[in-house]
């Protein structure tokens, strides 16, 4: 259904704005939801959460994927503008590169509501709701240090450099870990948030540093890739901590594989962005400051059971 709609939209491209789509037309107009690739369940959860809430609130939705390509994102913004979207929900393709399209939409009278990642300027998006990555990274790092017995050789897998979240998580990790003089980082490499890249990097790192006891990863997809490489090398003794709170890592934790992760409330975050968009469109204000932080929660074997699709049951 999602795929069909996407094909339809790209087929119609420029003319799309002129064509009514009765199957989806509802009273309040169109909300465009643009995120990175749904290959990462985190972004899929965002898109699903936003779409569901938008439809509940009476909007038609247009779900697009920019694959972390700023050019693609820019084209999608043009599509959303051409389609006369009332609002855009965006998980962006780069803190610097995303400023221009968000501004372009603003000038066309279309407000953007950002989730997950910030952009480098304030005053052009209406909301920027992001996880408190620093707080979350500190939680993950504390658990990691505890599991490591405050000592040992470890590896850090970093996310995409253009994404502020990669830097902030690393800084949260190190502000904790570096306080322990017996924690020794033997390798630090970017796997660009990617599972396959993390697998390859982990393989290489393991060959050069067989004496590692732990891996701390900037997100869960890289953690899954690293875990696969560790398993292949017969190194399931290595302590691995991720970040995101994906179902994949939850299942690994329950099986005694990956030890912990940090939940970002991605599903709720996306819904909240839609709610703020709706309030803004209805009343002219969200009643909130532009930039908002949502606290993260540590997930380990004690609460993994309660985790489902980036939300923790009470």
């Amino acid at each position: 259904m999602l795929l069909n709609r996407r094909i339809l939209i790209s087929a119609l491209a420029g003319a799309a704005s002129l064509i009514a789509m009765p199957a989806f037309a509802q009273d309040k107009g169109l909300i465009a939801i643009i995120t990175p690739s749904h290959d990462n369940p985190f972004f899929k959860a965002e898109a699903v959460g936003a779409e569901k809430r938008a439809q509940e609130l009476g909007y038609e939705t247009l779900v697009l994927v920019h694959d972390d390509d700023p050019n693609k994102q820019s084209e999608m913004y043009d599509t959303a503008i051409a389609r006369g979207a009332k609002a855009i929900i965006l998980d962006n393709a780069g803190a610097d590169a995303s400023v221009a399209p968000v501004r372009r939409a603003k000038e066309a009278g279309i407000p953007s509501f950002l989730i997950d990642r910030e952009i480098k300027e304030s005053g052009i998006a209406v909301s920027q709701i992001v996880s408190n990555n620093y707080q979350g990274a500190q939680l993950g790092a504390e658990k990691f240090v505890e599991l490591m017995g405050e000592a040992g050789n470890y590896v850090e897998l970093l996310g995409r450099e253009a994404d502020t979240n990669a830097g902030i998580r690393s800084s949260g990790y190190h502000d904790i870990i570096d306080q322990y003089p017996d924690m020794n980082m033997v390798a630090q490499q970017s796997a660009n948030w990617s599972q396959t890249e993390a697998y390859e990097k982990m393989e290489t790192i393991l060959q050069a540093n067989p004496d590692i006891q732990g891996v701390i990863s900037g997100n869960d997809t890289m953690a899954m890739g690293a875990w696969a490489a560790l398993e292949a090398a017969g190194r399931t003794d290595v302590i691995l901590v991720g970040f995101d709170g994906s179902n994949d890592v939850r299942d690994s934790i329950k099986k005694g594989g990956i030890k912990a992760t940090v939940l970002q409330p991605a599903y709720r975050q996306a819904q909240l962005a839609v709610e703020q968009a709706d309030q803004y469109l209805t009343t002219g204000s969200t009643g909130q400051p532009e930039k908002q932080l949502m606290d993260c929660v540590l997930i380990d074997e004690s609460n993994a059971d309660k985790l489902e699709t980036f939300a923790l049951a009470d």
Binding site: N132, Y134, K291, Q292, L293
Partner: protein, 215 residues
């Protein structure tokens, strides 16, 4: 002739200096651009925190401070009502309630040698620590920053700068404390500081802004 020797010596010396300078600069550069940017954020945020402390931060804490026992009682019945009544204003459901609390109790555990030194204080007389007083120098969390109504995330470039501000405020709090020495277990701690609400506040982690220890 003599002049030339001196000039050569000076020249040689300055070449050595230049080399030295270059080496230092290179090693900084290989540390990555991120590190250089972070250092700038750090100093700027440190200055901001130091400047805001007396005129802004302390009065906010003084005007919101509530005895921890009263707060716990209020939270027990309705956390959001307790937040409305005693807490710092918050942005909405996205952020936890933050409170300025005061209290006293017996020190049941002290970890003073650590970079993240801590006291466990028993304020309800059950013999177990229910307040973790963070002594630093590494103080965890962003409660102090997030509590302050005049500090708005939108005014800062990104989370990285904003995180440095949290650390800088924690660092100022640490620098204002008179740290306990020796064996303090069994002594009484009187404290005032900021907490972020987690659960029912039966066990809290405090960023202290005042601390007195006595018999």
């Amino acid at each position: 002739m003599r002049n030339r020797t001196i000039r050569t010596t000076i020249l040689a010396a300055s070449v050595v200096c230049l080399c030295g300078f270059t080496i230092v600069w290179d090693s900084e550069k290989t540390a990555g651009e991120g590190a250089a940017v972070a250092a700038t954020d750090e100093t700027r945020m440190a200055a901001y925190a130091e400047e805001a402390w007396e005129p802004k931060v302390m009065p906010e804490i003084a005007s919101h401070v509530v005895p921890l026992t009263d707060l716990r009682a209020a939270i027990g019945s309705d956390p959001d009502a307790a937040g409305e009544q005693y807490g710092f204003p918050r942005d909405g459901e996205t952020s936890p309630w933050n409170f300025a609390v005061s209290g006293e109790g017996k020190i049941v555990e002290a970890k003073l040698k650590s970079r993240a030194a801590k006291l466990q204080v028993d304020t309800d007389g059950d013999g177990k620590g229910d307040v973790t007083v963070q002594l630093g120098p590494i103080i965890r969390g962003t409660a102090l920053r997030d509590a302050m109504p005049f500090i708005v995330f939108t005014d800062f470039r990104d989370q990285i700068e904003f995180a440095k501000l949290a650390n800088a405020l924690n660092a100022v709090a640490h620098s204002r404390l008179t740290l306990p020495e020796g064996d303090v277990v069994g002594q009484t701690a009187r404290f005032e500081g900021v907490i972020a609400l987690k659960g029912d506040a039966q066990s809290v982690e405090l960023v202290p802004t005042q601390l007195q220890i006595g018999e």
